[in-house]
Symmetry: C2
Subunit: 753 residues, 2 copies
């Protein structure tokens, strides 16, 4: 489906094989754990068994003396701790939290909290030595739930944490790190104008990305003081930033060489092991590799916030929304900074809300520090709002898509957070749903139902760099600063080929290390194909401009007298003067030297992306089991550079959304011990649980991107839980307000149990 006549692109819009396909298909791609270096040591981490405890003492002597052990470190070895201790003036709380989360200081705040690390000749020796570290704890009561943690009598995680809000900073300590608020218009008046009001309370679970590859890193601290790190990360530069801060070490002496990444989804922007491996390597004088187990990944790295959300929306009898109110309570985990910003940004963003209020609470609990996960913070509020909207549509007697078309955000709509929508494709997306055969197909049979949900994600731009080198044989080496977590080597090379007017096989893209390319933010926020694409296009245009100047010099013409089109330079006024890209490339070194064009961008404006999903489910009324019968995802992607990759992003996100909807969640006991730290106990959707996901690509080109590209990967994780909840309602007449919507909860809602 195309909403705009496709321009005559040669490369963009085609489906070439991915550059990383062969290596990955044959098992030869080198992921984080595959790094091997001579004299490699192996590191392991001692983690807290307790969710909340004071550390009275740590004795590492037996571990250090254990044969085969080369180094042991604790929080005392972290240079930033020394720097914080010696610092004058205000303490950098963010850095202190980061230190404490890397290696616990005086307290452990979650089961899995790192306390010490060991480097040894092999992983088993390191594990054995970790067990020899003696820690004396004073156990403290744990608080595992956001609403419990907000109570005045809750156990406090941080004795100095005070609530920041518009009203200032609270006098007494609290687990609530902040209370934020957006207000538009007069919600009270808006609700007064409403004929129907629906207000519901929702809960969502703590879930984890569960990327296939666990966290892994290898660090080697050279005698010249250069630290080289090979992490599995979404961003080499961000990783370097974090290491530099924790180690108080100059960035120029830290070289981060990213490996292939076996899944990330936002979870590999945080550096956990890298500084530990670096310090162990410095102490041991040898390279150190550290690889987490699955349990360590679940226990010791950031999941999403569990949330408690309350949504209230009012509408007139004609369906027009008059007011909306949302309260978002987010578990930050052990340290402040839940992805509340994502939730508050998304919760009412897809609609035109005349009067609205959003309140957000960032609350610490005794769980791992949460991190970003694909559309960070956004899936829970969409689960909430899209059910309330569905109820409202039903109450006013409207088709759910028609209701959304009526109330959708449009060009110029001012959001509750004060920003204004632009380049909006809500109509195109919703109409694509209406027009899709799935939407009008018979839903067929008892206990079956169809649900829809809809959402908007703003996407991110940011800082990207690339270097584009013209080789003497006319091939092109493209180095980008963006780690490839989703096939972006291919989508970036395609934009280079399109801009250069060359076939794709002339381009070889690769991911640079922090020495070889300019500062580039991590591959997050659906930004890589968009922003690094802009960097690539900038560099490609610059390369052509330089090449035109060289051709002009060879022909003794001014640069503007030379044209370039699809691989051929030509003198505008003289047909006999022509040169192919490859012919000119061969002459570059000997004319003015090589041409390496750099693209450095900070993209401030990007196109948001609307998505709407249709799902058919069947609910087994006896067991509560939900079967997904059919699933269709519709999304505006601006321009699909590589439609196959776009479809893959949409399908992958829907599968993860299905996991949130039906299966996933951390289960803790009362003491805060995680009961399901393995993939046997933590249920993920498998191929048996998921039908083939149909995709519909809508293309409303974003006018400020050279190729109209919008971010793709995040929007499609938001609608599935809500769409499935709405489908369950249509199937069995009950609504479930808590994720995951397990068979037990469905049977409870149905009154069966």
């Amino acid at each position: 489906m195309k909403h705009e006549q496709r321009p005559n692109f040669a490369v963009i819009g085609t489906r070439p094989p991915r550059f990383d396909a062969a290596e990955k298909a044959t098992g030869q791609a080198r992921f984080g754990p595959d790094t091997d270096l001579p004299r490699l040591l192996h590191g392991k981490v001692l983690r807290s068994p307790h969710a909340h405890a004071r550390i009275l003492s740590i004795d590492t002597r037996r571990a250090a003396a254990y044969p085969g052990v080369y180094a042991v470190i604790t929080a005392a070895d972290l240079p930033a701790n020394a720097s914080l201790a010696s610092g004058e003036g205000e303490v950098d709380t963010g850095l202190k939290y980061r230190c404490d989360n890397t290696l616990a200081g005086d307290k452990v705040l979650y089961a899995g909290h790192p306390i010490a690390a060991v480097a040894a000749s092999d992983p088993h020796t390191a594990e054995q030595a970790v067990r020899l570290i003696e820690v004396e704890y004073e156990r403290l009561p744990a608080v595992m739930d956001v609403l419990d943690a907000m109570r005045e009598d809750a156990p406090l995680l941080h004795e100095n944490l005070r609530t920041r809000s518009l009203a200032g900073t609270s006098e007494t300590p609290s687990n609530v790190a902040s209370h934020s608020q957006f207000l538009k218009g007069d919600p009270e008046r808006g609700f007064a104008e409403a004929d129907v009001i629906v207000e519901r309370a929702f809960r969502t679970a703590t879930v984890h990305h569960n990327y296939l590859e666990p966290h892994a890193t290898t660090a080697t601290w050279g005698p010249d003081g250069v630290l080289t790190v090979y992490p599995t990360t979404q961003g080499a530069f961000g990783c370097r930033d974090q290491i530099a801060r924790l180690l108080c070490y100059p960035m120029s002496k830290i070289r981060v060489v990213p490996t292939e990444v076996g899944g990330a989804f936002g979870g590999k922007s945080t550096s956990y092991l890298d500084s530990l491996a670096a310090l162990l390597s410095r102490k041991a004088g040898r390279p150190v590799k550290m690889v987490m187990t699955r349990a360590e990944t679940l226990l010791g790295t950031g999941p999403t916030p569990g949330t408690a959300i309350r949504v209230k929306i009012g509408a007139r009898a004609d369906g027009r929304i008059t007011a909306a109110q949302a309260e978002l309570c987010y578990e930050a985990g052990a340290y402040p900074g839940a992805t509340l910003w994502g939730g508050m940004g998304v919760v009412l963003a897809a609609y035109d809300i005349p009067h609205g209020q959003i309140d957000g609470y960032d609350v610490v609990v005794n769980k791992p520090k949460t991190v970003t996960y694909r559309a960070p913070g956004a899936t829970p509020p969409v689960f909430a709002v899209e059910q309330v909207v569905d109820e409202l549509a039903e109450k006013v007697g409207m088709d759910p898509i028609a209701f959304r078309l009526l109330n959708r955000a449009r060009e110029g709509t001012r959001r509750v957070n004060g920003s204004t929508h632009s380049s909006v494709s809500s109509r195109e997306v919703l109409e694509a749903v209406q027009a899709h055969p799935h939407y009008s197909a018979a839903s067929g049979g008892p206990h079956r139902g169809r649900g829809v949900a809809y959402g908007h994600w703003g996407n991110h731009g940011g800082v990207s760099s690339c270097t584009l080198g013209i080789n003497p044989d006319g091939t092109v080496s493209l180095v980008t600063g963006s780690v490839d977590v989703s096939g972006t080597r291919t989508s970036l090379a395609m934009q280079a080929a399109e801009t250069l007017g060359l076939p794709l096989d002339r381009i070889r893209p690769s991911v640079g290390d922090t020495d070889s390319v300019g500062y580039t933010q991590a591959s997050v926020g659906s930004r890589t194909t968009v922003s690094t694409g802009m960097a690539v296009a900038t560099a490609a245009r610059e390369a052509i401009a330089q090449m035109r100047a060289r051709a002009a010099a060879l022909w003794d013409l001014p640069p503007e007298a030379v044209s370039y089109r699809m691989g051929t330079f030509a003198a505008k006024q003289d047909d006999s003067l022509q040169m192919t890209f490859a012919e000119l490339a061969a002459q570059l070194p000997r004319t003015g030297g090589a041409i390496t064009a750099v693209g450095n961008v900070n993209v401030r404006e990007v196109g948001g992306s609307f998505g709407a999903h249709i799902v058919d489910v069947e609910v087994d009324p006896e067991t509560g089991k939900v079967t997904i019968l059919r699933y269709t995802a519709v999304q505006d992607v601006g321009r699909a550079v590589h439609p196959g990759e776009v479809e893959g992003q949409m399908q992958g996100a829907v599968v993860q959304g299905i996991g949130w909807a039906l299966y996933e969640g951390y289960a803790y006991d009362e003491q805060g011990e995680l009961l399901n730290p393995t993939l046997l106990d933590y249920k993920l959707p498998t191929a048996l649980d998921v039908p083939s996901i149909e995709t519909v690509i809508v293309e409303v080109p974003y006018p400020k991107h050279l190729y109209g590209v919008r971010g793709v990967g995040e929007t499609p994780i938001m609608p599935p839980p809500a769409a499935i909840a709405n489908a369950i309602y249509r199937a069995v007449g009950v609504r479930v307000y808590e994720l995951p919507m397990t068979p037990g909860r469905i049977l409870q809602a149905m009154g069966v149990i």
Copy 2:
């Protein structure tokens, strides 16, 4: 000694520790043989035992079937051979020779000529398998000496090789690949004007660089078709070029990652093993490492040409040279292309020759294909000319330095090869010799003598690239395309620091791979500190320009209203607006994106370098043993970026020149078998043979280089053999016209034996 007032440099001219010092001092630097990769195989080469033979058959079946063997290749596997065979029109002879030298086709042309290669699980298995390859030879008579090879009845190496000369191409095949000639004025008339004429014939031996580290490479051919090679090389891009040609493979799919280099001196610009390892890796589907033994390095890689040189110079009684003639016969080794151009360029270059003629012959013999070695081709003719000049000075009764001062090349002197001298420092260098205490010290005692010699090397410029990235903490990552064979990371970082106005510790230089930086020619021709230095200065100036623009934007000023000096940006009209480099660096990503400045240059004009040496020797009249008592090297280096490194270059070159003078040379038997393929039998100067070399740095800045830098490393290898020969003459009254000047040859000249 300074010939010009030193400008007020902050970094240039200081002696900081080298960036590579700690890694190398602690043995942790990774040289070619240190590469290790998972599943690594080891390759070995089958080499010809014969100096000249036709290959009747090669049977690799037993080797291929040997347990632990993964791949065997012969010339038939070289893609360029297939391409040449299928090619239409004229055959690319250069490529054909390169193919044949990589893996012999129908003939072997020297003992050590590669015939096949094997990859196996370990080096010993590979060696064993190599022995199982059965080759049937038809032996042919070998020709080992340039003058023998030039005879009409000499055995022919190449049946199709014909002599190219100004007169055209010869009708009959010959071992003489070319005869070149430079002519200036009328030599006959010049000699007629002479009062004294000296004409002598000289021979010089085939010598090898004998870098400490043998040739080594590791290649891994990924399933995505990307070939990554980790060679010990002087130039990553040149290595890539050679691989691309031999494998007919696109450059973009070849990534060359240079290792540290354990000595090169021109011998590691040629790729021997890389294409073999690549093909073995492709066949085996695993990485393959190949490391030569010392014997393989001597037998199978390029030494210098052995030469026969005749020099005739005439002078008036007042000492003024009237004419000069030189005939240079150079052994190319098995394939045409001796470093004759270097010899012809240098032979008469240091003098003002009114009438001159230079004839050069490039002659194939059954020795390994020769390659460049520090001032390629230049040491033999300087050995010849500087003895003849010494004789002339004596005959006209002049001090040898005064004679050279009289006849020295000056600004504007037209050379015999037609080029014109510019930025000449011959006077400064010769006067520095005259003024040096060594020159006027008593030479003391019987059988002792003092010699001088002098020479000029033009140096090379060429194509260089670098990328200079500003890190957010104000440090700078400098990636250059130049492999560091002589401490150039330090000399380049110093030029970056000087240009950026920053302390050196803010810069971290590294050597890029072929993906991460622009095309850069190899580290040869004393070009790296000069030309890559220009690239670095270009990039640094560009970075500052971009940063000024950013500061201006932050202050809402035009860029020209912002000044930069020694680490501080300031508004010219407003004292209150100041920002340090680091403060601005922190703001770069979030303003217009990163700043990565590229420097791409093709340096066409560089400053040549004059050098003059003084040596005192003692000759044992009974054994002929020469002891070097004192050695002083004087040289103009334009500007010593790092005087310690400059002194090291001068001292190292003198030691190598002493080796040429007294010890080194390939010894062959009549069948062309090398008798001394080990460092036990091939004598190199040791610490016991060499006194501390005194150095005098003369600085006549080269005006077209930003910092006045001239090349350093090559000039000082040229004078030692001649200076020592002249000293021997002063010590014992005889001249030796053949290198090396062994005790036997000295005793022979003395009539003792």
